[in-house]
């Protein structure tokens, strides 16, 4: 439902940027899948960095978003190692950025949401709304990695995607715990 319960109550006209559901064609190759995941992790990292700066006066929330930044960086590392294992080559960052973000003139985060648009939306929002958007992103990442683990044939890569999906679930639970404290 657009705008959630606040819209139902007539309190909010616009919800956060809408996230889409990721899909892959059966022909999607490993390079494409890992490259996409890497590009999204990079976008999410940029978003969390930007949001952390909104909460300079709220140590707990800032720490949560900074922790997510380091978690996304760790995921990027795993993905780049997977890329090397699968393709036998080191990733070309510029090529990946061009392939997955170039057409949007900016980075895109989990859910296919442009980072610029999300940061613009979040800049005058409170803790709860920012945490809710972060939770929506983590759910999308969780969904994405489950789909990737099903789409990829390489056993080692499949295990990595399963591990990443489990970690996204942990991020989601931590965000939910903090949201519970803030509402």
């Amino acid at each position: 439902m657009e705008g959630g319960l606040r819209a139902w109550q007539g309190m909010v006209a616009h919800g956060p940027p809408e996230a889409g559901m990721a899909f892959f064609s059966p022909a999607a190759d490993a390079e494409e899948i890992v490259g996409l995941a890497w590009a999204l992790e990079e976008g999410s990292k940029l978003f969390y960095q930007g949001v952390a700066e909104h909460f300079t006066g709220d140590k707990e929330t800032r720490q949560m978003f900074n922790w997510l930044v380091s978690a996304e960086m760790n995921h990027e590392k795993h993905l780049l190692e997977t890329y090397e294992t699968l393709t036998g080559t080191k990733p070309d960052f510029e090529k990946l950025r061009t392939k997955f973000s170039g057409s949007l003139n900016g980075s895109v985060m989990e859910g296919g949401i442009p980072v610029k648009e999300a940061l613009e939306w979040a800049k005058d929002k409170g803790v709860s709304e920012s945490l809710e958007l972060a939770m929506a992103m983590e759910v999308n990442a969780f969904d994405l990695y489950i789909k990737m683990s099903r789409a990829i044939e390489d056993e080692k890569a499949r295990q990595i995607f399963e591990k990443l999906s489990e970690e996204e679930q942990v991020h989601l639970e931590k965000l939910a715990d903090l949201l519970d404290k803030k509402i």
């Binding site: 439902m1 657009e2 705008g3 959630g4 319960l5 819209a7 139902w8 109550q9 809408e18 996230a19 889409g20 559901m21 990721a22 899909f23 892959f24 996409l36 590009a39 999204l40 392939k99 997955f100 973000s101 170039g102 057409s103 949007l104 895109v108 859910g111 296919g112 939770m135 929506a136 759910v139 969780f142 679930q169 989601l172 639970e173 965000l175 939910a176 949201l179 519970d180 509402i183």
Partner: protein, 73 residues
């Protein structure tokens, strides 16, 4: 290929469409799911909504009947 090519938008209903849908259907004909936190649900929710917080969705999917349309907020 742009990254957006990998994402499908999820069908979304306006609040008016949801009100109309709920008015026309029997509660047994749909899943109405509130994915917010328990405290938010306790404060207010749409009548008949089933609380399944976002972080619990994966473990409680069996509570959503796949044969019926699902409205989530």
């Amino acid at each position: 290929m742009g990254v957006l090519d990998y994402f499908k938008s999820i069908p979304s209903m306006t609040t008016e469409e949801v009100r109309q849908f709920l008015a026309e259907k029997h509660p047994d004909e749909y899943n109405l799911v509130d994915v917010r936190q328990p405290k938010e649900y306790e404060a207010n929710h749409i009548p008949g909504a089933n609380l399944i917080p976002m972080a619990e969705l994966q473990d409680r999917l069996e509570e959503i009947n796949p044969e019926k349309p699902t409205i989530v907020y």
